[in-house]
Symmetry: C2
Subunit: 249 residues, 2 copies
DNA sequence: CGTCTGGATCCTGGATCCAAAAAGAGGAGA
DNA sequence: TCTCCTCTTTTTGGATCCAGGATCCAGACG
């Protein structure tokens, strides 16, 4: 008989015996599934508006459907998919609107973080920034999508890292991830990436001169540039429903 | 034999025959569980740092453990709980730090949204605002916690609703929910609530005069007030680990 | 010939079951 | 008597199974 537990709460960890505690990636299967799905999505395995079949993913990963479900919920938080109550999880089908909404949010938050953070960056941070930048140059040339995205995130995360607000850094990373992913779908053209690269160089140069105002301007210009290029390209989605050819047997 | 599916993607909804589509709350069990858990958490059924036992909740709701798991993931997105990989979901145990981080984010985003939204509010919006405000007055007097929180969210949501950025409204609501919940835990004292109420009246008055700058100032003052009151009260958490009495047999 | 309705099929959501891991308790040794 | 180790219990994480519902296709009717 499972005797009723006398204390409503567990004593708050009297022993610090937690040899795991954030040490290694004891990654649960769901997290690994989320990682794999993220890669697949970024790799273009799905197209906007498509619903993700859970057991297809499960079979593909060699696991059951449950960790896939959890992974999809994780990806929902990260903005990679959206949930429709009895239909499942689908790739967002209106990336245009989402991007137009996201840019101003990211701009204002990045400015706020940058004001506090840029002047506090240590020489080690700057070195890290430069390493990340050169690595990203290589990734761009090699056309490694996921790697480029990760390095771009890293770059911006370093820029904001010293703002003294952990939650803000976290939020910026989450929104930045969404933006990069959406940009990735919208225009996978390399010219845009090259432009972003140039801007990154400019930011680093300004930081090395300790010209923080200029660095901040460059950061905003970086976003604004992408925003404009984007709106120019997708001023209005031409076909409301592209009427893709039906599956042929 | 489940014959291999010939087309990798389902034809993208050729028929718009979706009689459900956001009509009624076809709420899945997990969503209802999330709602119930939210109420319980706000009601103080758990204390900061406590881990939530999944099958306790499941038994309490008369459902299996799986929708509870999904509900907990939903609540994780909303910031009500945090996840520890092999331990479960716990009530965040450092609300102080979280609040100090959240206030500036919410302030800067609210200012951005308010600049665009306040001048676009319709008379109907203002009426809605006033109705919400009076309802919240009543809820405060009746000490109905969850209701007060919901109405407060509604109030701020209306203020930002015309900013033309759906994602921003959504983000503000999410962060605002976190802040209100954390405030609720930190100081459940009614004086603070009363002060917030006063500020709401001031915001409405300024809006009726179409003095948007003043309304914006009032909005920021609203947050700043709570921020200061909060920091004054919890300047430094006195006991790092309150050393709760162990359960007695 | 187009449209609507009915049934078959597939997929998601929920329940139940099993394994693994962490916490808790008790005993042995210093 | 205190500490460390081991064994038990509890709880989470994952797998499998079942039911409800949505889509899709075919046939009937206008």
């Amino acid at each position: 008989m499972p005797k009723v537990r006398p204390a409503p709460t567990r004593p708050p960890r009297p022993k610090p015996s937690r040899p795991w505690a954030e040490i290694g990636p004891v990654a649960t299967v769901a997290e690994r599934a989320a990682e794999a799905l993220r890669e697949k999505i970024l790799g273009g395995a799905f197209e906007p508006g498509e619903f993700i079949r859970q057991d297809d993913v499960a079979r593909g990963l060699g696991v059951s459907r449950m960790p896939v479900r959890e992974a999809l919920m994780i990806l929902t938080n990260e903005g990679f998919v959206t949930r429709v109550p009895r239909r499942g999880f689908q790739i967002p089908d209106r990336p245009v609107r989402a991007l137009v909404d996201l840019y101003p949010i990211l701009t204002v938050l990045e400015r706020h973080a940058g004001k506090a953070s840029l002047s506090e960056l240590t020489p080690a941070d700057l070195a890290h920034l430069q390493r990340t930048n050169t690595a990203m140059h290589q990734a761009v040339r090699a056309a490694e999508a996921a790697r480029t995205l990760g390095l771009n995130l890293e770059f911006h995360r370093i820029l904001a890292s010293r703002c003294g607000n952990a939650r803000l850094v976290e939020l910026l990373e989450q929104l930045g991830r969404e933006v990069l992913q959406l940009e990735f779908w919208s225009f996978a053209n390399p010219t845009h990436r090259a432009i972003a690269d140039q801007e990154h160089d400019g930011i680093i140069a300004a930081l090395l001169r300790r010209d923080f105002a200029e660095a901040l301007r460059r950061m905003e210009a970086n976003r604004l540039l992408a925003y404009d290029a984007f709106r120019k390209q997708f001023e209005e989605p031409p076909a409301p429903r592209p009427r893709r050819a039906a599956k042929r047997k």
